[in-house]
Amino acid sequence: MPKDHGIGAPMKRREDVRFLTGKGRYTDDINLPGQAYAVFVRSQVAHGRIRKIDTAEAEAMPGVLKVFTSADFADKGGVPCGWLVTGRDGQPMREPKHPILAEGKVRYVGDAIAAVVAETPEQARDAAEAVIVDIEELPAVIDMKAALAEGAPLVHDDLGSNLCYDWGFVEENRAAVDEAFAKADHVTTLELVNNRLVPNAMEPRCAVGDYNVATGDHTLYTTSQNPHVIRLLMGAFVLSIPEHKLRVVAPDVGGGFGSKIFHYVEEAFVTQAAKVLGRPVKWTATRSEAFMTDAHGRDHVTRIELALSKDGEFQAIRTETHANMGAYLSTFAPSIPTWLHGTLMAGNYRTPLIYVNVKAVFTNTVPVDAYRGAGRPEATYQLERVIDKAARELGIDPIEIRRKNFIKPDQFPYQTPVAVVYDTGNYDATMDKLIEIADIAGFEKRREESAKRGLLRGLGVNCYIEACGIAPSNLVGQLGARAGLYESATVRVNATGGLVVMTGSHSHGQGHETSFAQVVADMIGIPEDMVEIVHGDTANTPMGMGTYGSRSLAVGGSAIVRATQKIIAKAKKIAAHLLEASEADIELKDGKFSVAGTDRSVAWGDVCLAAYVPHNYPLEEIEPGLEETAFYDPSNFTYPAGAYACEVEVDPETGKVTVCSFAAADDFGNVVNPMIVEGQVHGGLAQGIGQALLEGAVYDENGQLLTGSFMDYAMPRADDLPFFKVDHSCATPCTHNPLGVKGCGEAGAIGSPPAVVNAVIDALQRGGYTHVTHIDMPLTPARVWAAMQR
């Protein structure tokens, strides 16, 4: 019998009722009295010098309140970057200014040049078309390698180069790695592209700025995954507003997947425009605008080499990656191809020597930053693809070659050669589970059955490991982070026993209101409906870092546990007083404090009441009230891991790939709500399969985005995907957080692309197309067909 509540129970989500009945409150649902509307004038060329902006005609149009240009922000800062990466030469990365509105130059199609604020959105749009922008078009750099060539046009003239940084990791290992390759029995090399993706949360970005002229208070409502971070970045670095005069609210947010972590110029714009105009100002992106201006993800070009012994033992890995930064540095962009990518190159394996080189490059494209997985999918993809290729070259079964190199259960904690220490895991167990749930034994029969229908069936298997809940703050500070990576929680117990938990995490689909309540209710032994979860408003939550990187339960949940432990400790003192017993003898179970070994007890609610009506209360020892805050800074990352299998059918006449089945065996450590965990895996798998087969952002050589809408950017739809088989029973609990949890949000997106591509290559190889050893994602029908023709 599964539990019906508390930790481990598949409780139905409380937030669903409002979403299912149309009562969600997303940013665009917020309309303030007197609200005006902003529309941006955006660059239609990828690179150009602004000669003149003529706003006169636009300003005279009906309903127009003001047309803003960079001159209106002359005393404001640029949007800051939150991570400093240091190059192999010991020099800091090149870091351009990212102004709110373009200053002097435009650097990508969609770059904001001016903004019109008018009484209605249509008036603003009409006027935006009337803003005359005279631009001297300059040659654009789109291809990363071309951008690094001698004499290439410079995205930022003042930086003198399009190279943001050239990073080596671990630089001290470089010579030893080269030596291992020189001596190796076998070297497998693969050049591949990790395709550029558009996150496409279904809710387009939106921001509403408000200003109270009487109090000087600013409020920003925004589609953000981390309102406190936005408040800090925008307040301190862009607009010079002290945090106590700036409130940032991220209400219901319709998906993020990373793209809503970052501080965007539109947020700063509406905040400032509201002050200038004395009116609330709203901006809502169209989907077309979202395609052009939301930070994209991935976009790595990699050459990976794997050195092996002849019996398939991994000896060394060497990679060279070009990582696209786009035209400006988005909030966390520099950290993605480095600390979230290089540190994962050991995968689930004992490879002793690893060297990763990353060249981050500016191009005339929209900035690239974290998208579900962020660096870890790129690491997993190259590693698991090159392993598959090596297995084929050496004639070793792809599962066996992985097993042969697994870090074994008795080797944890395991120090990898790329800095991180895995605390726990059991990779053989997840592989065994995968073989069972994917029915790998039955593959050959299914393949024959597909062949009868003229289709080529293939099986792809891979493993993944990820690092979640990045921390601790003092370490990431050394690595260049310009922020802490703790999380916070305040637990407020009301006089009649109900609780309000204010978390610095943010939910935009993850169901925190349900699962966080399960944690607290379980600890106290009360029903979940006595626990309310509050998030998303800097005015009523403690300073927290928000939700991304699968960190919310591992870091935010741990903060909640710590705060609740403080509550329980204090409540025990009160209970001891009420029961006239020693505090050490007080036990809390099922919402009742009792004296050990007696039948004397006091209910949770009575203790809470005593805290707020302290008539019979140890006032000389403790304060009245029952409210505690905790900040939790983890001592290490968590390391979810797993093994995935994909079966595909390839139609040899059209190249179309159909995913017949997908199985995922994950180790997430302990699980609070298995229903939510499975849903997270499903969603991640869909995004990973989407990356593998459907999705890819493409710019032409002039920097025009060819995939600027859902008409050309293929989103996974219901008929593109199968039912999934997911399992998370092989749990090795995290050893260093109080819940033993590891995080599950990104796993599916990290682990699935190599499984799909491995499966397609397997299908083609088995089908006699032995010349096809790799196809770059997305494996569209046209690409697969073309590969088969060669």
Binding site: E122, E129, E653, G655, L694, D712, P781, W785
Partner: protein
């Protein structure tokens, strides 16, 4: 979008009168026109809705057996109403877009737009249908004149499409993965006096008849009859979703599949 005057006449005559105004455009289901107006790619000053005119709606059977479809009939209605009388057309209609698009989009709107990736041009040309307008009757072979170009004169309105019903017919399309329009679609129809094959999605010239296949299938209406044929990539569309060579391949593959389906 830019603003415009909206009129919704209830008779064909009033619609024709309204369309004579400056920069007037007809609006059928709007499933293509409204998105392009939102992008400000179309800017009519008057939009004349054709959805309130009863005489433009519905499916009936003519004395000669032809299936007559009112131009403002939605894809969903056509899919329902022709299922028993012309199943290949019903299947084509039922595969356009998605259910909500099929509930609004109309056959007349699609034909007047003549998107090179649309399904209806293949069904109409492959069936050898007749396009009836307020002024004349146009054979399908004369109607389609290249991408987004038709024989319609300014102000001319499609009122009805008359489909002769073949002995056997089927439509097979390969969808563009993002838009789900036809990357290439083939409609084959076998009549007593020969076979017609119409291809959409593939050619830079819009929908076209694949005469070589018609000939081969006329001799033997079987999938194998298509096998030996080759299609030149010259003049085929090349874009993000497929090269000209890929589309040329799909022309043959989809035609073969349509024939197999029609068996």
């Amino acid at each position: 979008m830019y603003n415009f005057d909206f009129v919704k006449p209830t008779t064909l005559q009033d619609a024709i009168a309204a369309l004579s105004r400056d920069e007037a455009m007809p609006l059928a289901g709007g499933q293509t026109l409204i998105p392009s107006m939102k992008q400000r790619l179309a800017a009519p000053s008057v939009l004349v809705s054709l959805t309130g005119i009863p005489e433009l709606k519905g499916v009936c059977r003519a004395d000669d057996g032809a299936v007559c479809i009112g131009a403002a009939t939605t894809h969903a209605e056509i899919a329902r109403e022709t299922a028993a009388i012309y199943p290949a057309i019903a299947a084509l209609a039922g595969g356009i877009g998605d259910p909500a698009v099929r509930n609004r989009g109309t056959i007349g709107g699609s034909l007047a737009n003549n998107d090179p990736s649309a399904c209806w041009p293949a069904g109409v040309l492959g069936s050898g249908a007749t396009i009836v307008t307020n002024t004349r009757q146009i054979a399908a072979d004369d109607f389609f004149q290249g991408m987004f170009t038709t024989a319609l004169e300014p102000g001319e309105i499609i009122t009805e499409i008359r489909f002769p019903v073949p002995e056997a017919a089927a439509y097979a399309k390969f969808e563009q993965p993002a838009s789900r329009f036809a990357l290439t679609g083939a409609f084959v129809a076998k009549f007593a006096d020969g076979v017609r094959v119409a291809i959409t999605g593939a050619s830079e010239g819009g929908v076209f008849r694949w005469r070589e296949a018609e000939e081969a299938l006329g001799a033997s209406f079987s999938p194998e009859a298509v096998d030996g044929l080759s299609v030149s990539a010259d003049g085929m569309i090349g874009d993000l979703h497929g090269t000209p060579e890929y589309r040329a391949n799909l022309v043959r593959v989809m035609t073969r599949r349509a024939v197999a389906r029609a068996q």
